[in-house]
């Protein structure tokens, strides 16, 4: 590992000032779980790290907004999110997903902003937050802008963020009891990165699916909305044949490449199976909650 400077600013504004839009060798660091691995492996050799640990505590708070939306400070640790009673009550999909995200040591230090900005396509939060319709507030030297989590990643480790912009807040619309599920499909050890992640959020009208939000992660270079699958599910009863058709449509519209987690054809097949399973798990967990 090469020597580097470590800056420890005490405000978000100061941190942004220490970043440089044109210098890829200056990097912000939140929990550092991803960046340290990349530095040890020699794939990242920053000249300066800007630690975000000292910025205002306001950026690591979890609150609920006026319209019932969840407001998560960009520096909130994943473990805090996992254990937050607010989140557990209102956004059970997030709590459930976080329990199997990496491991407890990582969750104790990794931040939600860093998690999203890292843009490793195998991560669990991007597809889940995209399915929930979450937005990020991005702060830069010129002020703030807001964009959908879904629009954040542009490819492997690539985002629309400028090098001197930081994710300062994540806003998640109310789950409002809607059935939702995330299926993390691993093909090696259980703690491995997923070969495929499928997140679904369903608006139900009686027995019918009024609207479905379906995002696939891990199998492609960024989380991808499966519009064809959503179209098939819209207005349909969640029957086996329909779910299968939606899965096949989802697999057909995705450009999946093979990697050590599985060949392209196998991962496509997994999607055809797991899209339907995600819908069924979402409906079952919502039903169980009603009965509970």
């Amino acid at each position: 590992m090469a020597p580097f400077e470590l800056e420890t600013p005490e405000s978000l504004r100061e941190a942004i000032g220490l970043l440089d839009p044109d210098d890829p060798d200056i990097r912000p660091v939140g929990g550092g779980t991803a960046i340290m691995l990349m530095m040890k492996a020699g794939v990242l050799r920053p000249r300066r790290l800007v630690s975000l640990r000292g910025v205002e505590p306001a950026y690591s708070r979890i609150t609920v907004g006026a319209e019932g939306e969840l407001l998560i400070g960009g520096l909130t640790r994943l473990a805090e999110l996992e254990h937050s009673p607010l989140v557990r009550q209102g956004w059970p999909l997030l709590s459930r997903t976080l329990r199997t995200l990496s491991n407890v040591r990582v969750r104790n230090v990794a931040t939600i902003g860093g998690n999203l900005a890292h843009a490793d396509p195998h991560m669990d939060m991007p597809p889940v937050l995209s399915a929930l319709g979450a937005k990020v507030t991005v702060t830069g030297p010129q002020g703030v802008r807001t964009l959908a989590v879904e629009e954040l990643a542009t490819g492997y480790y690539e985002t629309v963020l400028a090098r001197n912009e930081l994710i300062s807040q994540v806003t998640v619309p109310a789950q409002a009891g809607r059935p939702a599920a995330y299926m993390k499909v691993t093909t090696r050890a259980a703690h491995d990165w997923p070969a495929l992640g499928v997140a679904v959020l369903l608006d139900m009208q009686g027995e019918r699916i009024a609207n479905a939000s379906v995002i696939a992660g891990a199998a492609t270079d960024r989380p991808t909305r499966l519009a064809e699958a959503e179209a098939i599910l819209r207005g349909a009863l969640p029957e086996q044949a329909t779910l299968r058709r939606a899965g096949e449509a989802g697999a057909a519209e995705l450009d999946i490449v093979g990697d050590p987690h599985g060949s392209a054809s196998y991962k496509k097949h997994l999607l055809t199976v797991y899209l339907g399973r995600a819908v069924r798990v979402a409906l079952d967990s919502a039903r169980n909650k009603e009965n509970a």
Binding site: K40, T187, R188, A189, A190, H191, S263, Y266, H269
Partner: protein
Amino acid sequence: MTSMETAPTEGGIASRQIGRSLNRLEARAKVSGRADYIHNLSLPRMLHAKIFRSTVAHGRIVSIDTSAAREADGVYAVFTAHDIMRVMPEPYFGPAFHDQPILAVEKVRYIGEPVAVVLASDPHVAEEATHLIMAEYEELPAVFNEVDAASSDVHVHDALKPAGTFPDLKHLAGRKATNVALDFRVRRGDVDAAFASAAHVLDDTFTTQQVMHTPLEPMVSVAEPGENAGTLTIHTASQSPSFVRIEIARLLGWAENRVRVRVGLLGGGFGAKLYIKLEALVAALALLTRRPVRVALTMEEQFFTITKHATTFRIQTAVTADGRITGRRCEIWWNGGAYADIGPRVTQKSGFTASGPYDIENVSIDSYQVYTNLPPAGAFRGFGIPQVVWGYESHADMIARKLGIDPVEFRRRNILREGRPHATGTVMRDAAISQVLERVTERMNWQAPFERGSGTVRRGRGIGIGFKALVAPTTSVAMVSLSADGSCTVYSGTVDMGQASDTAIALMAGDVLGIDAENIKVIRPDTDCTPYDMATLGSRSTFHMGHAVRLAAEDARAKVRQLANELGAPFDEPARVGDLLRLKHGMQAGNIVGIGSFMPPYAKPDNETGQSENITPNWMVGGTGVEVEVDTETGHFRLARFENVVDCGTPINPTVVDTQISGAAIMQLGITMFERMEFDSLGQLRNASFAEYKIPGIHDIPDAVGREAVDAVQGNGPFGAKGVGESSTFGVASAIAEAIEDAVGIRIKSLPITPEVVYRALCESRNEPLPEE
């Protein structure tokens, strides 16, 4: 050194120690972070060395340009093989062959081979400077597959260079133009006739993949020039300090007593830290720089240091209509990588068991250790046995299916029973093979109706058994010292790498001397004070060091009795030695020192036929039963039941026997389900990290892991005991493959058995193959 937390029992004579369930004596030191690991050692003026490695699988070294690295700020020195040869003129090491250069000489033979080192006071500076070294190679064709390499025109080495340590390998000296480093054979009966008259002949080939030991404490060695010129201390995380001393002395042309090798606790070994790994390198660097030098590998670098053999095992079996095996041919190719390490011994010692624990009149075994351009392979928990059991037990299940015989019943008809000759001619003694098979069967509730599942979840079950001959002949020496207050210290070269050997040694010495194990101090291996021990490997320590410690304790006891006689005092118990010594010396003074040395009898196998009257002192037996649930839509499967039974003779410490059974079974579970070193077509390893090389985590392990040691006694063992560290690896893989076939009707013959492998086989069985990409 073992810390003693409990107060000594005042004057009391301890009851029997063997069979006590005792937690590790060093447990508190470990969990409180006080335990002694070489990894934590830092010495004044110590330099850190980082290794520059080959980027081609096979090539002649044209040039190595180290000038930029030398000039980098903070770099102390950069060395290549030429520098090493200034202190070690013949810089080749290895336990079986002297084939491995400390740093590459003239040629490189695999990607990741050490070529040069950078030294600096700051390890990060040294590591950065390795990126400034430029090496140019003239690339040569390379061989990777073990079967191809056995007959290839591409030769990894020009000639074989057996070390001379092992008499069984001497005949190989000077062989040229071959990659086959050892061709071991067993011949018994008339195999051709058996096949000619067989009702059925089955012919199958099974393969295993290359994997790594992944000790959580990566390899680390520190060499320190001694206070007197021409002496050297090596602090190392090694499983074989005595061998390190012999080999370093040989490389330097020194007497053994000029080299001191000291070992701490190991954070796991599993065979990775055997013989010489980094020790020759640090020794040479310390002599070149006259400063202490440390080499500590990263987890990633361990993949380029030592691995487990990938294998191809072709097995042919002749059976009668009623399921009696009459003949068996075994051909095994062991992928040894670029350097032999202990591979030839694995090839021989596991090779001769390849026909399985079955009573077969006509057997032919050919076992080939093959050089390839991959990272070297050596000993790995099981010493080659899991690879051969995978083949012969899978094959057993396939025969049983073909003949329509229950797999347990098929094994009962063929099992090798007490008093019958094994394929090598050695008559079986104290090998509880039948008992293990029956206990696995009972624990599986085999006779009860079995729920097979429905819909997309199908259930199946399988069992597998295997055996291992204790590696012989090897020697252990131990000393026991009784002080004038009656307290006891044991000096042993057995390395505690997590298997609780210090605790077992204290139990065994305490049993003879009537002292509680908690009150005995076991000295960690240090060749300046602990006597010779061959190595901590192959489940040999309980048997060999157990005997040596027992003999040393008995020797001390006899000397106490003799002292009592001399003094005309009554001989009570050796723990009362303090009274006698005080009586003799008039004060608290003096010692009683007992010595024990043990080497079991052994008859070397015939070179042509592999026949031997006494090929091993004992047989270790393990069996596993599993129930699996297969998801027919995806090929995912999980173990719903996992029963493991071993014969380890009398358990010395039942608590530790229990964890050795579960630990070994879980390790083999990972190798069966997902571990695999993945190489590209150029021989470049693509997953040398824990992010991409997966070992089992807690969620991969079944809720319950059944563990049992059968009620058996090893007649020639210390206190009736024998080893246990590897036995429950044996039956795991084939039992899972059989359970999958039982559930969904497909047979997997290659490890690992991943969900995709299962799903692809399901597609093929439906004649709807999944596209390759």
